[in-house]
Subunit: 709 residues, 2 copies
């Protein structure tokens, strides 16, 4: 009893602050069917590598928490309820099982119920230790989500090779578009002090299969490539290595000038090429498994090969040549648009890169944002997917919610990413999904990747809110297997993060699954995009025409006037549609076949255009805005029913954030409607409330120190 109280005391002090993410391992109050403490009582695992130790350690920690008793270590199966963990090569016990592991490849695993020496046991087996670690996390997930642990015969392996977080973290500790506090990298104290948080970070990533991390912002500081910083990077790489995570760096293209003392960064200049080769050699001397470089070049003011009248391929290949001897790769970003190109901005990345297909080295991936614009609440898939069969295209998702309400809006991004991954490019006929482009199936690439712009910071809950953790989680799960369902992932997350209990998980999953469409509706319904405040990207500003470049301004994107609204990207307009394969181009070019979700993305329409629903476009717009707000109200109501079913601290945080979200959803709706009305002078449909304030009021709002900016 004394222990219990001491324990409650400590528990209260730390409460449920979200730091444990989906790895809480709280005691299962009701044992899942088919498992009790007698079924994980013995752990048969050799000492092995640091990765093998990590796997055993995680099982001890996880089972100790979930089942109330950690398994005892044993050299052999000597009782019922053993866990046999390892690779055939390193464990005679595993080898003795004679399991077929050929299909597991690298990083894969199997989990199988077996009988050894007459005792029931569960084997967690991979061809390499990292596969065993992934299998161990998977076994724990089964228990965490309330699945039975008997009769198991499960095999899995990643469908994508590089599953990478991109940190937009600056060396000064700030995080561009970060809404979860400061950078978790304490560069000042590295390499001397290794914050335990680094290990927690690696564990969390390993649990969802993430195997790479780009430590620094794509708007890169060249200092990170200097010897002093490489020592710090090496220290982090050392922490991450046992967890199967490689370190990458964003490389500033002009680094040979800034830290190398050269006069040029021309990728065809021999001195420049030598500088990068020497730099790569230097990096690999301190980080033998260094992953490679991520590069943002000739984009938004960053230097690049075009400064020397060279192509993106020239630039990427130079870096690729420097890294190739060491097995490193280059992730070259396709997010480019020129201030001199007056063509539709959404067309520019395609125009720039499609002609370069086939010109990149084998160790270059082109990293393409999911849509052709910039992480908007909804965009059609980028037309580059399917258009460059000779080049591995790496997907770039944004986990941090730059355009989706920062930390305080509950917006689960699983459905958005699923929508993109399942979109059909028709590049090689029906069924040529974006997922098949990305995972290499469609064009036969072995080098494949998915990157997510991290939403991680020093906030105790890592991501700025408990629900934002779900986006980190879903990213990892989808990077592992892009065909997974966003709903199934949400369900796993909710059970692991809150409780493996339908009464808790089901309402939470319901909120999550509705949340992204709600955000689209209250921010940018019916294919609208890029209507947020300038610079900080906070709140609505569809009226904004103040920025020096046309394609930075909301009015560029909505093109609304008294007659109509929308961007004509059909053949009569910018003809962006013809960047897609013919069946897709035909669908989007035709007003009648264009889905409502992309209507104003591809078409400029009169306000009184009659929708399939029978409503005018204007009435439909107002209804969508209002529906978005109503959905948030519904989310709040659902959450209120969970008071007492989830712990007080996470309940209160979410309740407070949902209140903020409702207020801001209303603001988005009202400010947008007020602005459109100032153009079209149309009345609201019957029963729809007018904006709470005047347009002048909304225009007058200004914001101090918005985060992430």
């Amino acid at each position: 009893m004394a222990v219990l109280f001491a324990c409650l005391g400590a528990g209260r002090a730390h409460a449920e602050d979200g730091h444990d993410l989906w790895l809480r391992y709280h005691a299962l109050t009701t044992a899942p069917a088919g498992i009790d403490t007698r079924q994980a009582v013995q752990l048969v695992a050799g000492p092995g590598s640091p990765t093998a130790k990590a796997a055993s350690g995680e099982l001890i920690r996880g089972l100790g928490g979930l089942l109330g008793k950690a398994p005892e270590l044993s050299g052999a199966v000597s009782r019922d309820g053993a866990l046999i963990v390892g690779t055939p090569a390193s464990s005679p016990v595993v080898a003795g099982l004679h399991l077929d592991t050929r299909e597991l490849g690298r990083e894969g695993y199997l989990i199988k119920s077996v009988v050894v020496n007459g005792h029931t046991a569960t084997a967690i087996v991979g061809n390499d230790d990292i596969g065993v670690l992934y299998g161990s996390f998977r076994f724990l997930r089964l228990l965490q989500t309330g699945h039975p642990a008997t009769g198991l015969d499960l095999r899995d392996r990643p469908q994508v090779k590089l599953r990478v977080l991109d940190h937009w973290d600056n060396l000064d500790g700030s995080v561009e578009r970060g809404y979860a506090g400061a950078s978790i990298w304490d560069w000042w104290k590295l390499p001397d002090y290794l914050d335990p948080r680094y290990t927690d970070y690696a564990r969390a990533n390993a649990s969802i299969g993430i195997n790479g991390t780009v430590l620094n912002n794509v708007n890169a500081d060249p200092l990170v490539l200097t010897p002093a910083y490489l020592k710090k990077v090496a220290a982090l790489a050392g922490v991450f290595r046992p967890w199967g995570i490689r370190v990458y760096l964003s490389a500033r293209f002009s680094a040979p000038i800034e830290i190398g003392g050269l006069k040029t960064a021309d990728p065809l200049d021999p001195a420049v090429r030598k500088w990068w080769r020497d730099k790569a050699d230097e990096i690999y001397r301190v980080i033998p498994d260094f992953g490679g470089f991520l590069v943002k070049a000739n984009s938004e003011g960053q230097p690049g090969p075009q400064d020397y009248h060279r192509t993106h391929a020239d630039g990427a290949n130079m870096l690729a040549d420097a890294l190739a001897p060491h097995g490193g790769i280059v992730m070259w970003r396709a997010f480019v648009y020129s201030e001199h190109d007056l063509d539709d901005r959404t067309k520019q990345a395609y125009n720039e890169f499609k002609p370069l297909d086939g010109q990149f080295r084998d160790n270059v991936l082109l990293q393409v944002k999911n849509g052709p614009l910039d992480f908007q609440p909804r965009e059609p898939f980028s037309p580059l997917f399917g258009a460059m069969p000779k080049t591995p295209l790496m997907m770039e998702f944004q986990i941090t919610k730059e355009y989706l309400g920062f930390a305080t809006h509950l917006v689960y991004l699983g459905p958005m990413w699923e929508e993109v991954l399942r979109a059909d490019t028709y590049a090689k006929g029906k069924g040529s999904t974006v997922a098949k482009v990305v995972d290499g199936q469609l064009d036969g690439h072995a080098l494949t990747g998915i990157a997510g712009v991290a939403n991680i910071g020093t906030d105790r809950d890592w991501s700025g809110s408990v629900f934002d953790q779900a986006n980190w989680y879903a990213f990892g799960r989808l990077a592992w297997d892009p065909t997974q369902s966003a709903r199934a992932i949400a369900d796993d997350w909710a059970r692991m993060t809150f409780a493996p209990d339908d009464a808790v998980a089901k309402p939470i999953v319901g909120m999550m699954m509705a949340s992204r469409e709600a955000a689209v509706d209250y921010m940018t319904p019916l294919g609208l995009a890029h209507l947020m405040g300038a610079g900080h990207h906070y709140g609505p500003a569809p009226w904004d025409d103040s920025l020096p470049r046309a394609d930075w301004n909301p009015v560029y994107y909505h093109r609304a006037d008294k007659n109509g609204i929308g961007f004509d990207r059909t053949r009569k307009g910018s003809d962006a549609v013809d960047q897609y394969a013919p069946p897709v181009a035909a669908e989007f070019n035709n007003l009648k076949s264009t889905p409502d979700a992309y209507l104003l993305w591809f078409h400029h329409l009169p306000w009184d255009y009659r929708m399939r629903s029978g409503h005018t476009l204007w009435d439909a717009l107002v209804m969508h805005y209002t529906h978005g707000v109503d959905e948030v109200k519904q989310m709040r109501a659902t959450w209120a029913t969970l008071d007492g079913r989830v712990d007080a601290q996470r309940y209160a945080q979410t309740a407070a954030f949902l209140a903020i979200q409702q207020h801001e959803a209303q603001w988005w709706r009202d400010a947008s409607i007020a602005y459109w009305q100032s153009l079209n002078h149309l009345p609201l449909p019957a029963g729809y409330a007018p904006p709470a304030h005047t347009l002048e009021y909304y225009k007058s709002l200004s914001f101090h120190y918005p985060p992430g900016h």
Copy 2:
């Protein structure tokens, strides 16, 4: 058993990350003499005010942790081992004890062993609920430090009225001279979201008697005085109020221009005076117990009354008049020095303010840094203490270690503050200590205060390291009673923070007590000062002469050349000595009576000056530098003996930081010696190692993104 394991699992996840500070309440492994669980089994406390609830809640939490069982609530004493908690006015049970509480005043408390209805009990009683809260924390401290809890008869009350933390936190989330992460105030999410951290902060402060907090940097952003920010401030004040903590704000003197739209901030201008009155009224409408303003004026570029040819008194009094109707006060900083005044910088605050004694309103305190320069490792006390009998002088200590190694040096500041507080001003004869000036005894002031520049940030351990927490703790304890001993405070802290066990606490206290003199020795021995790197204040740069103002440069302070070193502040020099009372002036003016610790602060001496020890000044300097480094080595050795006696996480952090400290102590020693040798060309005394590198090497070092700058 299941509970135990689940509990260990959770415990490991959170480990000992320092977040609980000195309020860990871990189970006492051996019960202190005179207490067992039967002596705190019943809590007799009314529901009462939020503050009364906080007191009861803390006892339940604390005793639940320490004794393994929380006391049961009861309306009356019905068994042995009751705690009777409350005020005579609010609790009939307390009133029935007929205790004499007259001497307790406000905020005071008594703790007394009593017998009620034939049952043994402990009474924790104050005249107000905050006194009861302080008493509850004191009772818990007795247990935490291993003291018996029988036969108690203890009374205490604060000796200083305002015990205030000054946060140099900016509204953008950065912290000037902060080495513990970002600001803990999440201004963006306030007032809608109240981070539980705010409550933790208030609890920690209440536990050591701190009763005020200045939320924003003295280099103040006027935005904090706008309605939007005042709502945020009010939300924080609401969290802090039950814990007895009032909120104050740093006010920018030119706010009437910047946010008021006025053309002037002249303190005698009627419109300006009205603006501040209206602003005060507005503040008190939303924060009825607002504490007042802290002002840095006409100092380091900040605006102030001298911009309008008015005095500091004119400026302070205008603000005081605006606040007076509401009971607010002004803390006006004396940290001023002019770029036009060529006199010894350490003399300028005295020159400026002494003539104003008697000119300030009753609700103005003059806030004076401990020394006449700027928070150096050692300075003599500021001559303003004792020199302005008609003005309450508030002490300003710096808890954050701007000049003392940032977060990673173990430097316990208790001895430094004790040294200052016990220094004798002789203002009214022998025994006129600085403490008696500050606590109002000497000159009969009722309004008294001590401020500490906070070392608090978003780092999980609050202060950047576990040992830096001791400085926050010691500040609170000394602010409550400036006559307390630094060693006794360290002993309490070590027992509460690590274990109430001599084998752990004694070596830790030993390290702490030696640490400040070690830092003085390896940085600025024998009265040297201000020899750190420019701007960021990191590391040694005694050679630096690069800053535009003479008195920003190290060479201004040490005045070393081939013949000698030191700043002549005697009557033959700047005559700073005569700012002190005659007996002190005589002591410092006379080379023979000047303590070694202040030797080069007051005297310029030849390198071959013969010290009392018999060594030449040069040899003594080298010995002091070396001794400082040796002391750090000794601290590391002592800490190594505690491996296994303190938890792994805090052990490892401290071990890593001590390694950094040793490296940097060596760097300070070597760089300093290399520079002095470049001037005096003297050999090192026998047996003393030469610097590891050349002076050019030390001069060549540069630092990127130092924290706090």
